[in-house]
Amino acid sequence: MRVSTRAGLVALLLLWSLGPMLWQLYTSLRTPEALLASAGGLGGGWTLANYGAVLSGDPPFWRYLLNSTVVGALSTLLTLALAIPCAYALSRRGGLLRLLVGGGLLAAAVFPYVLLFLALLQVARQLGLANNLLALCLPYAGLQLPLAVLLLQAAFAELPPELEESALLEGFSLWQRLRWILLPLMGPAVVSTGLLVFLFSWNEFPIALTWISRSELLTLAPAMARIAGSSVYTVPYGAFAAATVLGSVPLLALLLLFQRQIVAGLTQGAIKG
């Protein structure tokens, strides 16, 4: 392919991927008058007031980001704590059980989980878990376990068995073998699995939407939907755009920092699962 053709295609790709985001950034920095006067104009009318409005709202926007971060981090820890022992045990077994569990996990991993929201909501109400931010970790861990176990199981299976056998001869207990021999070698797999779980929990919508009604406990995704629904006919979108930008920045940072691990997890998950 000619270099100039390729440069053109790359530019087109980046324009397509980033254009909508850049448009939000532009909108968020314009005054209402400037937005109504000319879409895409650059003269006059720049402002930070939209960010001020969003950050001083009730609750302030950073509260949603904080809630999402807390839920994301705890869900990730809980998922890994449950998935690692399960994946280990699964990788040390052969035959029918592994095949059956593996098949079930794959089916669960691709299942459109939105179908489960009503039954999960009923459980939450019966157990008094509605409007409890931390309780969201339970369904999130459950929903992400299939992918996490499949990924970690494949990583365990790649470690040479001699490693564990010699540790066994040294008299290491199961916990010691996991903690000191196996897990240190699985760093990349654990990190990429954890990142995928974190991204899911950060972005999850239908369950957070139905479990949480108090506005100061909302995570980012339902908060955005509530912002969208509250003022459908409010034009222009300056404040909306500011919210979109603020909601995107943490993920952009995460992506730039961990691009390699996220991509590894994603591709491994699909291929080994």
Binding site: L82, V101, P112, L121, A221, A243, A270
Partner: protein, 285 residues
């Protein structure tokens, strides 16, 4: 034995999250539980199921969901392959470009659905701004059924093509370069190489992409809930949105459970068809 003990906590949570809801729906679909029963459960036999079979909106939404999923995933597959081929070549800045191209996939769907609503806004969004600049009439993208449907497809393709591209890129990296060199020596053009080498060898990856993406697209909820709310006149409503409305807006829990179970059965039939198709093509190949 200790193996089962290690797996038990995870398996219990999995049963609670995936299996219990389906059993719950099976029970609930045989009950009336709505505002008319004071939200109490009253056994009604197969009444909900009879209603489902005759419910025009359910079948309309099933068709709309299928159309949305097939068209979006087909476009994502073509665009994703093109992007994967581009990102597979060696050039400076490829790593950064891969990161940036992945951004749409990483963002919360509700965040960008709100963004797209502004982009499609009539008359103040950028697309209509451009049309006005060219002296053309503005287009009410989200107020006309066909256009609103197109808007949901565009937003979905934008959001999930990076995922497809990455999986296909992983597949491309598995294809030995010698194959292309040998093919070129025998006088094959790159375009022929794409169809005779790349696509056949990518087939397992394409299958995985289809499996993941079709399942997700058939369950589409976040995007439609925020971008169009299912409108105008439920023309973009998906089955998941309909099930949600039945439970949370119409407070008809028995019927909502029936809709979700009905959707589950349709998905199961689709998955079986896909597996049969794969077996068929494998035998042929």
């Amino acid at each position: 034995m200790s193996g089962l003990l290690l797996m038990a906590p995870a398996l219990l949570l999995l049963l609670a999250v995936f299996v219990w809801p389906l059993l719950d729906y099976a029970w609930l679909s045989l009950q009336a539980q709505s505002v008319f029963t004071g939200l109490e459960q009253v056994p009604v036999g197969t009444l909900n199921w009879q209603r489902l079979l005759a419910d025009g909106r359910f079948w309309q939404d099933a068709w709309q969901t299928l159309r949305f999923a097939v068209v979006s995933v087909a476009l994502e597959l073509v665009a994703g392959l093109a992007i994967a081929l581009l990102l597979h070549q060696r050039w400076r800045g490829r790593g950064v470009a891969r990161s940036l191209a992945l951004l749409p996939w990483a963002l919360p769907t509700t965040v960008m659905a709100l963004g797209w609503r502004w982009i499609f806004n009539d008359p103040y969004g950028p697309i209509n701004g451009l049309l006005q600049l060219l002296g053309l009439a503005t287009v009410p993208f989200l107020a006309a059924p066909e256009l609103a449907w197109l808007a949901t497809v565009v937003a979905d393709v934008w959001k999930t093509t990076p995922f497809v591209a990455l999986l296909l890129l992983a597949g491309l990296q598995m294809i030995p370069h010698d194959l292309y060199e040998a093919f070129a020596l025998e006088g094959g053009t790159p375009w022929q190489g794409l169809w005779r080498i790349t696509v056949p060898l990518l087939r397992p990856y394409i299958f995985i992409v289809l499996l993941f993406r079709l399942a997700q697209a058939l369950g589409v909820f976040d995007l439609i809930a925020v971008l169009t709310g299912g409108g105008p006149a439920s023309s973009t409503e998906s089955l998941a949105v309909y099930a949600y409305l039945n439970a949370m807006r119409f407070l008809d829990f028995g019927y909502s459970a029936t809709v979700m179970l009905g959707m589950f059965l349709l998905l199961l039939a689709g998955a079986a068809a896909l597996l049969l198709w794969r077996r068929h093509t494998e035998v042929r190949a």
